[in-house]
Each structure stands twice: as C-alpha cells, then as structure tokens.
Point group: C2
Chain length 220, copies 2
C-alpha cells in the first residue's frame, strides 16, 4: 500500500483523460467484457497509443490477446482517481450556475460530493437548495473545517472570486474549481482549474471561422 502518486508524476492531461475513459468504460461494460486500446481510443476520440500511455499510469496491464478487462481496468482507474476515503466539496455562490452545478453533482459520487454550499445572500442561506444544505458565507471556515473539506468550487461573481479563493484556502482547501472569469492568486500548493466560458466560446468562434474551407454554402 505504498504506491499511488510517486511513479513519475502524472500530468493533469492524463488524469483528465482517465476520468473520461472511466465514464466510457462504465457505459460499455454491459455490452463487453474486454476491449482493446484502439476501441477505447475510438470511444474517447484519442489515439490508441495515448490510451495505452495513460493506462500505464494506473498500473494495470492488459493482455495482448484480449486487451483490457473492463472490470479490472475500471477498478484500477477508480483506485487511481478516487480518494482513499472521502473528499468532500464546498460550493460557493448559489446563483444560476451554482444551482446548475448542484443539480449536476447531486446524488453522484459518494466520495466526492458537494456537502455544503455557501452564499452571501441571506435569502439563500440556511436552506436546502438541490439536496444540499446552504449556509451564509460567514460560516465557511467553521463548516469547512468541521467537514474536513479540501475542495472548493467558486461560482460567485468575478469581483468576489479572489476573496472567496482566499477564504477557501485559509479554511483548508488544496484544490479549487473556478468558474469566475478571474485568474486566482493562491499559494503554489493549491491546485486550481479554471473553467472560463467566455474564453471557450471565443476559441470556438475563432476556429469556427478558420475551419471552414474557402467557398461553400449559401443555400436557397
């Protein structure tokens, strides 16, 4: 019981893809028992070599003849991705996006669930929003420490994002999923993943223009 994280430092890209593989594998485990790297690659939209490399990280070997046994591979990925015990999550900002996020994660993943939501609006505090208890932000530190929360999701307006990040970190967060369109200033020991809709849409728009060949369309 000593392995886990020291192999060669797995990249966040690989971790992300493993998460995606996991979902795909769960879907197809009813139909199939085993699959080959090229099959999983096709499902995931990556190359077979990429799949094999990624799978190396979880310490499981397939057989050249049958490929990967889905059940076992899933166990290995779960073991790699899932927290050993439990890793509760806090959501800050119960607005439009916050509620959608609560709805999205509700009832999934027992080990990685949103156990508390916070909002500075008193109307939202002390209620159960989508099955999740909502508290006033003032109680953030207390409740995070009570629950042992180490992950925060930021869904507050950009203007409040930095202070929210600071509060989360001060209360023990070591990972943050940030939806506010602001780069967060946090200690280097804290892992931040930004999800920036504007940036994503700008990027899609840019490549939607250049991806289309010279002449086309103009239907009747």
């Amino acid at each position: 019981m000593n392995n886990s994280q020291k192999h060669t430092a797995v990249s966040s890209k690989t971790v992300g893809r493993l998460s995606r593989y996991r979902r795909l594998l769960r879907q197809c485990r009813e139909q199939e028992d085993c699959l080959f790297s090229h099959r999983l690659a096709e499902l995931a939209g990556v190359t077979p070599a990429q799949v094999r490399r990624d799978i190396m990280a979880v310490g499981y070997s397939g057989s050249p003849s049958k490929g990967y046994e889905i059940k076992t591979l899933l166990q290995h990925i779960d073991n790699f991705l899932d927290p050993p015990i439990r890793q509760p999550v806090a959501l800050v900002g119960v607005g439009n996006l916050g509620r959608a996020i609560l709805a999205f994660f509700a009832g999934r993943r027992p080990k990685l669930k949103i156990v508390a939501a916070f909002d500075k609006d008193p109307h939202k505090a002390d209620r159960v929003i989508v099955g999740c208890r909502c508290y006033p932000v003032e109680q953030l530190a207390d409740i995070m420490q009570n629950h042992g929360i180490t992950i925060g999701i930021i869904a507050v307006p950009a203007s409040a994002a930095q202070e929210t990040a600071a509060a989360l970190v001060a209360s023990g967060a070591t990972g943050i999923l940030n939806f506010a369109p602001t780069p967060l200033r946090v200690p280097a020991t804290v892992y931040v993943e930004d999800i920036d809709l504007t940036t994503s849409l700008d990027t899609v728009a840019y490549f939607a223009r250049s991806t289309r060949e010279p002449s086309l369309e103009r239907s009747t």
Copy 2:
C-alpha cells in the same frame, strides 16, 4: 486588408489566452494607459515571455520604453478574435445549465450572441427564456439557416448529445461548445471544445490530494 489568419496557424491555447488578456486589459484600461508584458503576465498568471509570444499573433508591437498601449493592443486583440461581421450562436438544451448559460451571455457581445435556443420539451419551446427566443428542436435546421448560425452550444443530456451535434453540423455549424460528457463524432472541419465538469472535478480532486505537503494544519 489581407492578413488575419495565415501567419503560422495560431494554437487554441494562444487564442484562449488572448481572450483572457482582453478581459484583463479592459478592466485595467481605466487606471493605466500602457503596461509591460510582466504586468499583464502577473494579471493573467502566466510568464512575461508567454504574453509577448501571444501578442505576436495579433500583429502589434509595443515599445520597449512604455510597453503596450492598452487601447491599441485591445483593438488588435479584438480585431484578431472577433468575427469580421457577426457570428450568431445557437444553444440546444434549455435545462439548468442551458438557462445559466443564457443568463451568462445575455446582453454581452453583439457580434457573438446566442440568438436562438432549442429544446425538445414543448413547455420550453416558443417562449423567451432569458431574453432569448426558444424554439422546438424540430425548427433547428430552418432557424439556423435563417440566422446564418455557425456556432452551437450543446447543453442537452449526454444521451442526446451526438444527435444534437449531427443536427448542428448538418445545419451549418462549424464550431461547437459541448457541455455534455460525451466525445462528439463530427467531421474534422468542425471545431469542438469540450467542457467536462466531471473530468475537471476529478482532476482537481486528484491534485488536491497530492499537492499538499506531508504534514500540516489540524488547527484548534
């Protein structure tokens, strides 16, 4: 009036960062007239060299003494990122997430706005949801072609994502922003950007565990 896209093919990473720079620059253009690469780098959370490289893509040169003139740089970034005329967007799936997205983009970007939303639920069709007209999915092809829509946002359940993507592409989409946790199968000429919450949260959770050093905390 010939330049724009053929320089050396700008990467999506650069495009994304330019979008981020733009937002930051807009914020600080009240306080400052000019800034240096290291200042913008600090704001954006990247290195100064990265900023300078990215800015090369928009064809603007700063002065070694004063840095970049914010107003002019913004013009160049706008010119680079924004569509020449107008690039209307369609949203498919007006559920929790869809409504949050409509709210988020409402009233911004005249050139890049969501002009139509679609849902298969008749209760949602033919209404104005957050300032955006909502139609039954059956009208997707017609309305996309009427409006000349080339960008689609997918916010339908995963099970309907592939068919939605196919419908979008068939109706002229060349770029898709996909929130459904499913890899989309589309022609290579269509640019797809996936936003996968589960994957993102898994990644944060993974690094939230390994990012913290051996011993710490346990405050009173």
